[in-house]
Symmetry: C2
Subunit: 253 residues, 2 copies
DNA sequence: GGCGGCAATTGACCCGGATCAAGGCACGCC
DNA sequence: GGCGTGCCTTGATCCGGGTCAATTGCCGCC
């Protein structure tokens, strides 16, 4: 297995979300799957999709996939691993914008400004499908399914962006965050009740606009109430229904 | 002037942002202008844009342009007036998602769910250009400029959606809000230092995730510091530079 | 004119979560 | 081993903004 990686870049121990060893299975769970496969993998137009996609990686934890200000040329679908996007203001304070799991796509917010407005940082060892955006646009003009797919992905991200905007308590935010992750894992075929948190408490807190201490306290409280079992970054949801009650105002407003 | 409106629907007194009397000038400031005009108004493909657009209105203050759950068929460019979009949770609490000024477009976040995920409510008398989305998609397939325009508008809205996500003080939020409005008015050719706030203090507060009382207090403080002049909903920015300092972490993170 | 309703303002009080600080735990490195 | 370094947890304190409440001003309407 390891021989497929460049020397000196040993991969992390295989994680439950990594799936780069099984390409077709990955593609089945990817956000582009309907464009790549379902809509007719064999049509000549869609063969073009195979040409404009490029497999990149591995990136190790902490490495940048792109940086603020980089010229926008491509969007990236996560094949395995986890990514955070963030902005850093001039005082150096970090602002986490989102986490991206296998099958999800980063870079869409760079289309308008034509430069990436944020950093993308790997949280563990990650691989990507890189889609040249000019080529993708051109393909979208010829294949309505691809165009529609892009519209839908963009519109979908608009919906999720407004999620953490509300003024909600720390409990609501954390509960909703855990359930959101669970749902996204489930949508890609992974366990919805047991998974690994690739991000630190600090990243979670930053994303949820809380202090790291508050996240820690809420998780401790949830554990005491037997809502979750958590040890380090290994999480199990013991009472998803109750968590849903707590976070529901935030999940579907 | 009034004779052009249906009986019983007297318009509000002409507002500085209304411009429906001068169609070509409006189009020059609209978010679709490059698609409608600049990219070649006379090409046969673009004549189609004129066919799929429909002028609708007037809507009076408080009337809905669309409601949560309505099937998505079209997007709307504001021709004159102001709109707020909002979600209402099951407890009946309102969540303001955004305000839209003349030249801006509402409804993009409905593409993915195929139903409007929010309400759009007129804040004063408003007129729209209604663009059938299926027709627009079809046109986008044939005219790359239209497709690119849609991608850019969607991506742009992604950027603004993440603006109010940060944890910022009430002063920062209000200052950034006022400057954001000023910039958007300026982008459409209106005064950047004097304008009318079409929305109530409660709407502003809700949008900024503050209490109405807090917004009121901040505005009073800004007035005492000679940063603004405000009387009711008539606003003048007296010291935009200082406001920019206050709100800068939020404006460009 | 007087009344009622709504938006806005202002003051008094309180609470949730930030901040500060201390300690524990697991890891890699010399 | 001993030590440093992150990351996480837990406790003590503080403050910004929410909440409650009273007042004012503005309109529309009877």
């Amino acid at each position: 297995m390891q021989s497929k990686y460049p020397a000196g870049r040993l991969p992390d121990p295989p994680s439950p979300i990594a799936d780069d060893g099984d390409e077709t299975h990955f593609c089945g769970t990817c956000a582009f799957s309907s464009a790549c496969i379902a809509a007719g993998y064999h049509k000549p137009e869609l063969a073009a999709l195979q040409c404009l996609v490029e497999h990149v990686g591995p990136f190790r934890a902490g490495e940048h996939i792109f940086r603020t200000g980089d010229p926008f040329r491509a969007i990236f679908a996560v094949r395995s691993g986890t990514v955070k996007t963030r902005m850093v203001d001039k005082e150096g304070r970090e602002q986490v914008l989102g986490f991206y799991l296998p099958g999800e796509v980063i870079g869409l917010n760079a289309i308008y400004p034509e430069h990436f407005p944020c950093d993308a940082v790997a949280l563990d060892t990650t691989f990507f499908c890189r889609f040249s955006f000019p080529a993708m646009s051109a393909l979208a003009s010829r294949v309505p399914a691809v165009q529609q797919h892009l519209f839908r992905m963009l519109s979908k991200e608009l919906g999720t962006a407004s999620l953490l905007a509300g003024d909600h308590s720390a409990d609501e935010r954390v509960a909703a965050f855990l359930l959101d992750l669970a749902g996204r894992y489930a949508a890609r075929g992974f366990s919805a009740t047991r998974f690994h948190l690739s991000m630190s408490r600090g990243d979670i807190a930053n994303y949820l606009r809380l202090a790291a201490e508050t996240v820690s306290r809420v998780l401790s409280r949830f554990r005491a109430q037997k809502l979750i079992s958590i040890e380090g970054r290994e999480l199990e949801l013991l009472n998803p229904a109750r968590l849903r009650e707590i976070g529901q105002t935030l999940l579907r407003e």
